[in-house]
């Protein structure tokens, strides 16, 4: 199964946020979406989902799931295939951790919403994998940033969708939890999910991603394995930085080092 985006463009009056983006995401791969702030990464994720809360945004192009136009799917059918993890870690009411994770099963439940034993098991399982079982009855609002991120990741995992779009899943996490979340995402991919994650950490992108997509000012300027995409030239173009890179035990590493010369 694959998710294919062709010639996607999003414009607001007098400004193109995304220009002519084409890409595809396969099941079982972990793909990083990188680019400077304002490059259009979040907009791209929302466009793939068909979420356009603001007025005056025009979207053209085609998003296909296994050859089928995604706008032809019902919202519920689409929700069962693609999960979305937003950038903000916000829950409006003071729901308990388990209630938040349980919402991940939303599209799988009847409108009366009584959770089945199978759903309960999936929810427990996702909570175990993200190591939040000890927080079950805690109100979401009292959690630390790292705990919130894991709870929302568990929520996104609970849908058991073929595809997951995550908007900066490791932003604001400490190094240990960044590694933990990256490992979880890699695990999900190994279990057959297609994961597309916006990521700003080039070092982790180099280490963990099967493929990266590099965006600059609304355009996709490069895509492929991290070693091929995160080149000095591309990074100077997209971010204006020069990296430091090398090899450690046969693996490539890279860290952003300094502002590149004009």
């Amino acid at each position: 199964m694959s998710l294919t985006i062709s010639n996607l463009a999003v414009t607001i009056p007098q400004c193109a946020i995304i220009r002519n983006v084409s890409l595809s995401l396969q099941k079982g791969e972990l793909v990083g979406l990188i680019g400077a702030n304002g490059a259009g990464k979040s907009t791209l994720l929302k466009a793939i989902l068909g979420i356009r809360p603001k007025q005056d945004k025009k979207q053209t192009g085609l998003v296909q799931l296994q050859g089928q136009d995604i706008t032809k799917l019902s919202p519920r059918a689409r929700a069962r295939r693609i999960a979305y993890m937003p950038q903000e870690h916000r829950v409006e009411w003071d729901l308990s951790v388990r209630d938040v994770v349980a919402l991940g099963r939303f599209a799988h439940q009847s409108w009366l919403g009584s959770p089945s034993a199978k759903c309960a098991k999936i929810i427990d399982d996702c909570m175990t994998r993200t190591e939040i079982t000890s927080l079950t009855t805690r109100p979401f609002s009292v959690l630390s940033g790292g705990e919130k991120a894991r709870v929302l990741l568990a929520r996104a995992m609970a849908g058991q969708t073929p595809f997951l779009l995550a908007d900066e899943p490791i932003a604001a996490l400490d190094p240990l939890h960044q590694l933990q979340v990256m490992n979880l995402l890699r695990q999900s991919a190994q279990n057959g999910q297609g994961v597309l994650a916006v990521i700003h950490d080039l070092t982790l992108a180099m280490r963990f991603m099967d493929r990266v997509l590099l965006m600059n000012r609304g355009e996709l300027i490069a895509q492929g394995p991290p070693q091929k995409v995160l080149t000095e030239e591309n990074l100077a173009n997209a971010f204006g930085i020069t990296p430091l890179s090398g090899q450690y035990q046969g693996e490539d590493w890279l860290i952003p080092w300094e502002k590149s010369d004009e």
Partner: protein
């Protein structure tokens, strides 16, 4: 660090509230100047008796009890739904102008003398006011994010308030002004089964619409975008809440006048008991609203049997300080 609050099992909470509503309903039936026994209610309802106690039971006590319960339920339920939709604990039906618009319709009926010519003109005009206003609001805010809905609603509420004041201002007859002012304070005295038959069907349709939105309100607590990604039909949810509120609260105001604070206070009190889940809060707030209005109506009749205090005055008098106390207590006790 606050400890997780004690959350009641949902079924137990519903059952307890339902029992309390039943007890309050029975108490409500037993209160009044005439001594009416259980036998009189039996004869009035099941035997169709026409003696004085049976008539009082059938034409005064029973409609009053039903209306108090149904109006309270409408206010509590739509308050909870409105707070869930707008994700704002300060939202209530009045905020988006439904009560004000219904009151305006009623005031126009009183002012033009329509209500004097035809008794049902008042509730019908009030219903019309509520539904027209909500239709207008829906079209106005259709393409806006939900925050736009609040702003449009607030504007609509002030507009109906201003138009009501204008009608009072232009009224040549001081008695009409007096009558309008009194009606607006909200009351359940002198209502008959006709009012029940007129209001209840609309309220019930409204309840069904509001309850149908419940699960989507749960998903909305993760924000509009995530809710959309979870498969929520946001447009339909919004329409269900707006028109469900218009029908149930419109009918409530049409029958009783404006009764404030129940839609705000009841969901607020009950929210911690359902673990803050918007979907569970809806049925619980309906029962809580019914309970509170039944009790307030009993209180009004017991306190001043001669010249009755107006129900809307009492709910605001008790509700406002209580709400203030609740808010201050929560602010001192950590995150709410």
């Amino acid at each position: 660090m606050n400890e997780p609050k004690k959350i009641w099992p949902y079924g137990l909470l519903l059952g307890t509230l339902a029992l309390a509503v039943l007890a309050a309903a029975l108490l409500s039936l037993s209160i009044g100047p005439a001594a009416i026994g259980f036998g009189d209610f039996w004869r009035a309802v099941f035997e169709g008796a026409f003696d004085m106690p049976a008539l009082i039971a059938r034409e005064i006590r029973i409609p009053r009890m039903i209306l108090a319960a149904a109006i309270g339920a409408s206010l509590g339920l739509s308050g909870a739904a409105m707070q869930g939709l707008l994700r704002n604990p300060l939202a209530e039906p009045g905020v988006i102008g439904v009560s004000g618009a219904a009151a305006l319709g009623a005031v126009i009926a009183l002012y033009t003398g329509l209500s004097a010519a035809f008794a049902l003109a008042l509730p019908l005009m009030a219903m019309l006011g509520a539904v027209l206003a909500m239709g207008f609001l829906y079209i106005l805010a259709r393409r806006q994010p939900l925050s736009g809905l609040i702003l449009a609603g607030v504007a609509l509420a002030s507009l109906s308030g201003a138009l009501t004041a204008l009608v009072l201002n232009l009224s040549p007859n001081p008695f009409a002004v007096y009558e309008i002012m009194f009606w607006m304070m909200g009351s359940l005295s002198d209502r008959s089964m006709t009012h029940v038959f007129l209001g209840l069907p609309f309220m019930v349709i409204g309840w069904v619409m509001l309850l149908a939105s419940a699960r989507n309100l749960d998903a909305l607590s993760l924000g509009e975008e995530t809710a959309l990604s979870l498969g929520v039909n946001l447009k339909r949810t919004r329409a269900l809440v707006i028109f469900g509120t218009a029908l149930s609260v419109g009918a409530a105001v049409a029958v009783s006048g404006v009764i404030g604070f129940i839609g705000l206070v009841v969901p607020h009190i009950l929210r911690p008991f359902v673990g803050h889940r918007p979907a569970h809060l809806l049925p619980v707030s309906a029962l809580g609203g019914a309970l509170l209005l039944l009790l307030a109506d009993i209180f009004v009749r017991l306190l001043t049997p001669g010249t009755e205090l107006k129900l809307g005055v009492v709910t605001a008098l008790i509700g406002a300080p209580f709400f203030l106390w609740l808010v201050l207590r929560q602010r001192n006790g950590g995150p709410s």
